[in-house]
């Protein structure tokens, strides 16, 4: 599996309140979350999410367990998220809603440069340079291939 998009560079410790603010959570309309994604970090980011691969610093997705955070990214058109480390609840939530992500320590980021990555082979290529990344486990890949945990779970019954 090889995924690609254009880079959006973000810093470390991006919390789920910054990904989607608490004031937008009381709805089931996913478009609301996509519209307001990263609003409190930088209001222009939402318009750059279509086809984006987010290259972030350590501890991406820390804080609240809100699943609206990965759903907002996915709904806004994000292809995947690459970071040296993730907050664990965000990591599980992303896989569960079908948003690919990978841990990669050394990736260099230039905004809008092409990025490719392979969750099963375990590499990220950004700005013309390829880095080793932690491949996802078999079960996680399976969940992603089904489009999320709900679909995976139904396929197992």
């Amino acid at each position: 599996m090889i995924l690609s998009g254009k880079a959006v560079c973000l810093g470390a410790d991006i919390d789920t309140d910054l990904i989607i603010a608490g004031r937008y959570l009381r709805t089931k309309d996913r478009r609301v979350w996509a519209e307001h994604v990263f609003e409190d970090l930088d209001p222009v980011l939402a318009a750059r999410m279509k086809g984006a691969v987010i290259l972030a610093g350590t501890n991406f997705g820390c804080g609240s367990s809100r699943e609206q955070a990965p759903v907002a990214l996915e709904e806004a058109g994000v292809v995947g998220v690459i970071a040296p480390s993730f907050a664990r609840i965000f990591f599980r939530n992303a896989i569960n809603v079908g948003l690919p992500l990978m841990e990669c320590a050394d990736v260099r980021c230039s905004n809008d440069a092409p990025v490719s990555f392979s969750p099963d082979e375990g590499w990220v290529e950004a700005d013309g340079e390829r880095c080793a990344a932690t491949p996802l486990s078999g079960r996680m890949l399976d969940i992603l291939a089904h489009g999320g945990l709900v679909e995976y779970w139904r396929s197992q019954q």
Partner: protein, 404 residues
């Protein structure tokens, strides 16, 4: 030798295990998406309704008709399925689970990041998202990667005005916001055993602020006595030295009241560094510091005086509110000019009941001071109830009496 997390999950660190959960809960915020995911799984009945709870706390009572409609759906679902349900005004999910539900050695999963609070009982308690929770509703179990553990030794004796919240802020600043990622924290030493259950809940609550999956205290005589008051018979857990990934020691002798400055929880320094910063609001409450002892300490400090800024006090549960009403703590707070909110999360998540305006500065006993969380364009500092009370009287950040 095993850590407490390894013993409860029954496998060494690094293993993946599928484990039935003993207790699982959602609140009004995460319950909505959980219910949606569960319906998409196309099951008629919950796998283990007797182990599940739906507890309204985040926006309780509802702030508008959209929220009210979402809550009505969950309320109906809980009644149809016969699930343990607590409605608006009952209190914060973690607090209610601590009032005679969670027991030592259990695996507890909540759709809220601060589920780690319940590690205070020697349970393995951790937060998950909505879809993971839906799979638990459907199957009764979930998967875990058994975490490596950081041993946090508590050494020395708390002195002066320092309290449990300062211990929590101290380990968060020592480990940093991702120092515990993918791991568990285990609180160790004689001083850990001296702490009350309320203090342990405060300390375990903030484990997730280091990225940790869980924060555990061994169940001991204090735990056993606490649960006996709820009619639950349990036994202490045998303490054995585990194999820790890392160990740190907190010296309580030298600990002073701390304040975490915006916008990072690990940005904590002695309260003196911030003295004189003018405040627009003080908030006392949350799953970190909304318990009876917290309210009582605030009341003791403000008794007979008037607060100089708007001060919002939100008890963590109806039991806490009732105890405060019966003991006179509540009337002391009201007489001092505090505003009392209904039991629940209050303004902590930035949705209602005390959210700050742009440019305003607040001081809170909560656990997160993330940018814009409790008000767009506002700044929130975090502290203990004692520091909050002293600061409320002064209208500016102030060290509580007895600060060394």
């Amino acid at each position: 030798m095993s850590t407490l997390a390894e013993r409860i999950l029954g496998a060494p660190a690094g293993s993946f295990v599928d484990r039935p959960v003993d207790r699982a809960f959602v609140h009004d915020g995460t319950g909505v998406l959980t219910l949606e995911a569960w319906r998409r799984m196309e099951r008629d009945r919950l796998a283990c309704p007797e182990r599940l709870s739906i507890l309204f706390d985040h926006i309780a009572p509802a702030n508008n008709s959209t929220t009210a409609a979402l809550q009505a759906e969950l309320r109906t679902f809980a009644a149809e399925q016969g699930v343990h349900f607590s409605d608006v005004g009952s209190g914060i999910c973690h607090q209610l689970m601590s009032e005679g539900i969670v027991r030592p050695g259990e695996v507890v999963v909540g759709a809220d990041s601060h589920t780690c609070t319940l590690g205070a009982f020697g349970a393995f308690a951790t937060g998950v998202g909505a879809t993971d929770m839906a799979a638990i509703w459907a199957s009764g179990s979930t998967w875990f990667r058994v975490p490596a553990t950081i041993g946090v030794h508590l050494d020395g004796t708390l002195r002066g005005a320092a309290e449990a919240k300062d211990i929590a802020l101290d380990y968060v600043r020592r480990l940093g916001m991702d120092g515990g990622t993918y791991m568990a924290l285990e609180f160790l030493g004689e001083r850990a055993r001296d702490l009350s259950m309320e203090s342990r809940l405060t300390i375990a609550n903030m484990a997730v602020e280091t990225g940790a999956k869980a924060g555990l205290f061994y169940a001991d005589d204090t735990t056993v006595r606490f649960l006996a008051d709820y009619g639950i018979q349990t036994a202490p857990q045998a303490i054995e030295a585990g194999s820790y990934r890392r160990e740190i020691t907190l010296d309580l002798d030298d600990l002073v009241p701390l304040v975490a400055a915006p916008h990072r929880v690990d940005n904590a320094r002695p309260v003196e560094d911030f003295e004189g910063i003018a405040l627009d609001e003080v908030f006392v409450g949350t799953c970190t510091n909304g318990r009876y002892g917290d309210l009582a300490r605030v009341a003791a400090i403000v008794a007979g005086s008037k607060v100089a800024v708007r001060t919002i006090v939100v008890p963590a549960s109806r039991s806490v509110l009732l105890a405060a009403a019966r003991s006179g703590v509540l009337s002391t707070l009201i007489a001092a000019g505090c505003t009392i909110g209904p039991p629940g999360c209050g303004p902590c998540l930035g949705a209602h009941m005390g959210v700050l305006g742009e440019g305003e500065v607040g001081l809170s006993t909560a656990n997160r001071n993330f940018r814009n969380r409790m008000g767009v364009g506002a700044e929130y500092y975090l502290c203990s109830p004692a520091t909050a009370a002293a600061s409320a009287l002064a209208g500016a950040i102030t060290a509580p009496e007895g600060t060394a």
